[in-house]
C-alpha cells in the first residue's frame, strides 16, 4: 500500500508517495537520499538515526514515515545554514568529538534536542541525557566536552 505523505524536511516541503512499511529513516535515506542520518541498529537502540520531529529528538528508525505526515523533520543536513557550521558542529570538530563519524550526525542532532529539554544545567545531565547515542569508537569524553561548551555558553548568555 502506498500513501501520500507530506513531510517538511529541513524547511523544504516534500510530497511523497510512500510504502506504509517505510520507516522515516528509510524514507529519508532511500527516497530523499538524505544519507547523513545513519542506520546503526534499526531498532531504536543506538541513536545513530536521531532526527528532530517537530523539534523533538526521535529515533527515526522507530517512526513510520506515514506517522510523520504534516510534521517538520530536521536532519543533520539541516543543521548548518548557508555553508556555516552550527556552533555545535564546530564544537564537535574542535573537541574531536568523533572518530569514524558514523554516530556523529545522530549525536549532533540529539544534542540539539537535548539542549532544548528541561534537564539540570550540569555536565552530569549531558552524560545522562546523551546516553541514548552510542559511540563505539569511544569519543564520549570529547563529545561530552563539545556539548558542555555549548550548554554552558547558552547558560551564560541566558544569565547575563
Amino acid at each position: 500500500m502506498k500513501y501520500s505523505v507530506t513531510l517538511r524536511v529541513n524547511g523544504k516541503e516534500q510530497k511523497l508517495n510512500l510504502d506504509a512499511r517505510a520507516t522515516l529513516l528509510n524514507a529519508l535515506r532511500e527516497i530523499l537520499h538524505l544519507t547523513g542520518t545513519k542506520k546503526g541498529c534499526d531498532q531504536g537502540q543506538c541513536g545513530s538515526c536521531t532526527v528532530l520531529l517537530n523539534g523533538k529528538r526521535v529515533n527515526s528508525c522507530l517512526v513510520l514515515a506515514v506517522m510523520a505526515d504534516g510534521k517538520t523533520v530536521t536532519t543533520i543536513e539541516g543543521v548548518s545554514s548557508n555553508g556555516e557550521l552550527h556552533p555545535l558542529q564546530q564544537s564537535f570538530l574542535s573537541h574531536d568529538g568523533l572518530q569514524c563519524g558514523y554516530c556523529t550526525p545522530g549525536q549532533i542532532v540529539s544534542a540539539l534536542g537535548f539542549l532544548n529539554e528541561p534537564w539540570d544545567k550540569t555536565p552530569e545531565a549531558v552524560q545522562i541525557g546523551m546516553s541514548g547515542n552510542l559511540c563505539r569508537c569511544g569519543a564520549y569524553p570529547n563529545i561530552a566536552s563539545a556539548i558542555e561548551e555549548i550548554r554552558s555558553s547558552i547558560q551564560e548568555a541566558a544569565s547575563s
Binding site: 543536513e77 564537535f92 570538530l93 569514524c100 558514523y102 554516530c103 550526525p105 569508537c137 569519543a139
Partner: protein, 737 residues
Amino acid sequence: MNHWIGAPIDRADGILKVTGEASYAADFNFENLIYGIPILSTCAKGKVVKIDDSDALKIPGVLTILTSQNTPEFFPAKSDFGTASQMGEIRLPLQDETIHYAGQYLGVVLAETLESAEEAEKLVKVLVEEEPPILEMEKNLSQAYSPKAFFGEPLPVIRGNFEKAFSEAEIKLEEIYTTPVEHHNPMEPHASIAVWDGENLTLYESTQWVVGARNVVADALKLPREKVKIISWFVGGGFGCKGFIWPHTLLSSLAAMQMKRPVKVLLSRRHLFTTVGHRPATCQKLTLGASRSGKISALKHHTITHTSFVGEFLEGSGGASQNLYDFPNLQVIYQVVRLNKGTPTFMRAPGESTGLFALESLLDELSYKLKIDPIELRLKNYAERHPETGLPWSSSNLKECLQIGAEKFGWKNRNPDPGSMKQGNLSLGWGMAVSMFPGFRSPGSARVKILPDNTARVESATQDMGTGTYTTMKQIAAEILSLPPEKINSFLGDSSYPAAPISGGSMTSASVGPAVEAAAKKALQHLIDTAIKDKASLFYRCSPDDLQAKNGNLIFKTDPSKAETFGEILLRNNLPFLEGEAFIKPDQPDKKYAFQSHGAQFAEVLVDPYLKTIRLNRMVGIFDVGKILNLKTARSQAIGGMIMGIGMALYEKTVYDLTTGRVVNDNLSDYLIPVMADIPSIDVEFIDKPDPYFNSLGVRGLGEIGITGTAAAIANAVYHATGIRIRDLPITLEKLL
C-alpha cells in the same frame, strides 16, 4: 622543520562528518538499484533439505531469491594474508547445503525496495535436517587441536626449562582466567553495493582493506583484478570485523552480475553477530613460579580457544607472556576447538587484550601474595631486551610510562589492603596494569601530487576507519612539501590508488606514513628539477642543494626573498601536476632490534559494599607508541581503546543459546557496550619519543594498545576495593555477591 607532524590539528574529514556529507558504503545511491537482504540459518548444524520461497516471491517488488539451488559457482580465492587476499570465512557462500553455524547465509532476497526485501526474507521457509551442534569448548576438549604456527611463528613456544624452574620456585601460583565471545559492533553495519557494467565491477564497501577486498572478489568471480575496484572512503568503525572479506561482499557482487543492475546488500545489526567474525572465548590457565623477592622464573600460559568449521583463527593470548616480561623459562601452548559458531577474527588487540587480562591479573595476585607493590613487581621483571628474540628494544619507555602514570594517578597514596580505602560509604579500589602491543609494519605505497593551484594531494589505497589517517597522511606531506595542511587533500579508500596494507595490527601509520613521506620527497625533487631546467625560472641551472620548499614556495636557502610558488613553476611548464610515488618495504634482512609499544593504565573504581554495583571513577593511561603524528586524534584513539577495554572489563559478553547455537543478545540493548554515562574522566598522555629504527618517521601506531591492560587494571581495582578476585570477564555485580 615545519612542525606539521605531531600538530594537534582538527580532523581533516571532520567537516564532512559533522555535516553528514561523508559517504559511507550504504550512502551511495544508484538508478535502478536492487536491495539485497540475506537469509540466515536458524540452525547451527545440519543440512538444508528444502528452501520454500513461494510466499516470499509473492511479495510485490521481489525479483528473485538466490540460494544454493540457483547460485553459480564461486572460485576458491586464495585465502592468504601474505598475498593480500584473506577471507574471513574460507567457505564460499551458497555453494552447498551444509550448515555449519546459526547465522550462516542460506540465500539472499533481491527486491525493488528495502521494505519488500525485508518482508520477503521473513517469509522464506527453510526446511533443515538438524544435528546437535557443538557449542562448548570446555566440553569438547577431546576434539581440540594444537596449532603448529601463528602467522608464521612456530607453536608452541618453549623457552628455557619451565618444568625445572617451576619445581624449584619458592612461590607457586596457578589460576584460570576466562574471557567470553565478544563482538566488534562498529556503529556502521557492513554494507556492500555492487555495480557491474558488463566488464568492470565497482564495489562500495565497508572495509578496512580495499586491496584485499578487490583481490578476493576478483579471484572468487574469476575476473581480472584490474577490473574490480573497491571504494571505501569512509568506514564507520571496524575494530577488526571489516578486515578480512566476508561472504556478503561476494553475494552483492554475484547478484549485480546476475541481475545486471546495481545491488545494495545491507547487513542488519543481528548479522554483525554471526557472519563478520568475533573475538573468540578464551580459557587461559597460567602457572607461575617466582622467588620470594618477586622475580618470576617460570611461566606457562595455556590457552584454550575456538574457531569454526569453516575458517581458521587463533586468539594468540599467550603472546602477552611471550613478549612483555623477562620470563627465562616459558611455555606458551594453545588448544583450539572447532565449534558450530561463525568464524572468529581479529578484534582490537587480538591476543594481547585477552592475554594481558590474564597475565596482568596474575601479576596483581602475585603482588598480594608477596606483599610487593604491583609497580615494583613489574619493574623486577622488566625485560631489558626483547624476551623472545634477545634483541635490544629499538625504543622502550615502559618504566617512564609506569612512573608518569603513578604520579598522575597518585599511586603513592594507595593503601594496598583490600577494602581499606573508602569514598563516603563506597569502597574505593585502585588498580593498575601494563599495556603492550608489538610494532608491526607491512609494505605500503603512496603517491603525492603537487598541483598548479599551490595545493597537493596524497593518494594511497589505505583506509581511515576513524583512525585519523586522512589527517595524519596530509600532515606528513605538509611537513615535506612545506605546505600548510589545509592546502593538502588526502584521497584514501580506493583500491585503484597505490597499494597499501590492511588497516589492522596498528600498522597504517608505520607502513603508509613512510611511503607518503618518500613520495612527497620525490614530488618535491621533480619540482626542483623542473625549476632548474626552466630558463624562465629564478632557479635556472642552480644546484638543487641550494633550494628548499617554504610555505608553498621554492626559495634559495641563503636568500628566502628569491621565491617562486609551486604553481608558477607548474603553470610555466604547462604541467597539470608533478608527482612522486613510493613503495616502502620494512627493512628486515638484519633483524637488529625488536619493536614494541608499551603503556601503563590505572583505574579507580567505587563499589557499593551492599549492592556491589561497580562504578568506574577515573582512569589514567600513559602510552609509548613512538612519534605522535597528531596529538589530538592520537589522544582520541587511545581514549577510545581504553573505553572499549572498559566494555570488555565490565559489560561485553555474547551469549549463545546452548540448544540452538543462536546468539541470544544479538542487538545493542542486550549486548552491552559502554554509553556516555558509564565513562569517567580519562587522562591520556604519550611519551612521544620517535622510535629511532622502526621507520623514517619514528612512528609505531596506536590503534590497539589502548585496549590492552584495561580489563586487568579494572579487575585489579575491583579486587582492591572488595578483596574479591574476578577471573572471568565481564566483571558483573552478581560475581561479587
